[in-house]
């Protein structure tokens, strides 16, 4: 059985710095898309026991619109945007679409594309790695269900999961959401290696 991941403080802060830069890039792209200023919270890099995974993001039964963008290439990760229902509606309003329609789902996929694309572009720029975001997938459900759907793809044997999480808010709107990167197996060592910390 694979050992649970354990990282030194230096490694965690390197990972956090990557999250900082990736999120900053993603927020800039979002800001251009919605033509409004975007606030980003302090990105958190934390090792979370599987049991606490859903609670680390929000209330288990909170209704969310979630966008999952798998990232493949030189490393594997899953990027999740989780919009509380009212935030998703507010985002739809910015684009003049109803989020509960097919058009709304396409809008969410596009937002997932743009945020994940700019995040991975930043990581590629720093590390020289080739990263390919897959087409985003949308789900409208309970937060915990969405999170376990993602974890089942990311966590194979370990009982701890690394969350790189940032809160994003579009100023002057009710659009606030969690932006979460869940590394797939082997991602962190690969990333640290590319940064010369492996």
């Amino acid at each position: 059985m694979a050992a649970d991941p354990a990282y030194s403080d230096l490694e965690l802060s390197a990972i956090q710095e990557i999250a900082n830069i990736g999120t900053g890039n993603a927020a800039t792209a979002l800001s251009q898309l919605v033509m409004r200023p975007v606030d980003i919270g302090v990105p958190r890099a934390e090792l979370v026991p599987l049991q606490d995974a859903a609670d680390a993001i929000g209330p288990a039964e909170q209704e969310v619109m979630a966008v999952l963008t798998p990232v493949r290439g030189d490393l594997e990760a899953n990027m999740l945007l989780a919009f509380p229902a009212e935030a998703a509606e507010a985002l739809g309003a910015l684009f003049g679409v109803d989020v509960s329609t097919d058009m709304g789902a396409s809008m969410l996929q596009e937002v997932g594309n743009i945020l994940t694309g700019s995040y991975t572009t930043a990581i590629s720029g720093m590390t020289g790695m080739n990263l390919e975001p897959s087409p985003p997938l949308v789900a409208h459900d309970m937060l915990a269900s969405v999170v376990d759907g993602v974890l089942a793809m990311s966590v194979v044997e370990s009982d701890t999961v690394l969350f790189l999480q940032t809160a994003i808010h579009v100023e002057g709107t009710a659009v606030g959401f969690a932006f979460l990167l869940v590394p797939g197996e082997g991602m962190v060592p690969t990333l640290l290696g590319a940064l010369g910390l492996g």
């Binding site: 059985m1 599987l50 049991q51 606490d52 995974a53 859903a54 609670d55 288990a60 039964e61 209704e63 979630a66 999952l68 997938l137 949308v138 789900a139 409208h140 459900d141 309970m142 937060l143 915990a144 269900s145 969405v146 999170v147 376990d148 759907g149 993602v150 974890l151 089942a152 793809m153 966590v155 194979v156 044997e157 009982d159």
Partner: protein, 163 residues
Amino acid sequence: MTVQRHMVRMAEKAVSAAAGDLLVSLGLGSCIGLALVDADARVAGLVHIVLPQAPPALNGAPPWKFADTAAPALLEELVRCGAHPDRLAAVLAGGAHMFGGAGASPVMQIGARNAESTLAALEALGVAVRACETGGSSGRSIEVDVATGDVSVRGVGQPPKVL
């Protein structure tokens, strides 16, 4: 009788013989909530399964995360609490496919594999399946009432279904 809700989170389990206890898993996606109930002995258990199969060696890790190891381990605990294996009835909830539609890779079909593996483990143990609310693309919550043996399952924005 005081009602006490016991949260069963990912890779956790709860077993109880106390009337008034509710065993609850919220927001099961591709995970499976497996409830085993002996309504006569008023003993029930709930486990929150994450993956279909344990690696070849658990090396002392808890069995609850994997369908093939969680089902027999839960049965064993229930018997220790006074349940009779022949009276146990199983209810499964979860095993949904949360993201994307057809054409998803087998890795993405983890919900269906979780359900299959849980059912296979129950069959091997000879445990009757009372209800199986699995599959689809929506999350579910499950609640087990230890006193009555009732198991209720509900999806987002839906009324609970008592099984």
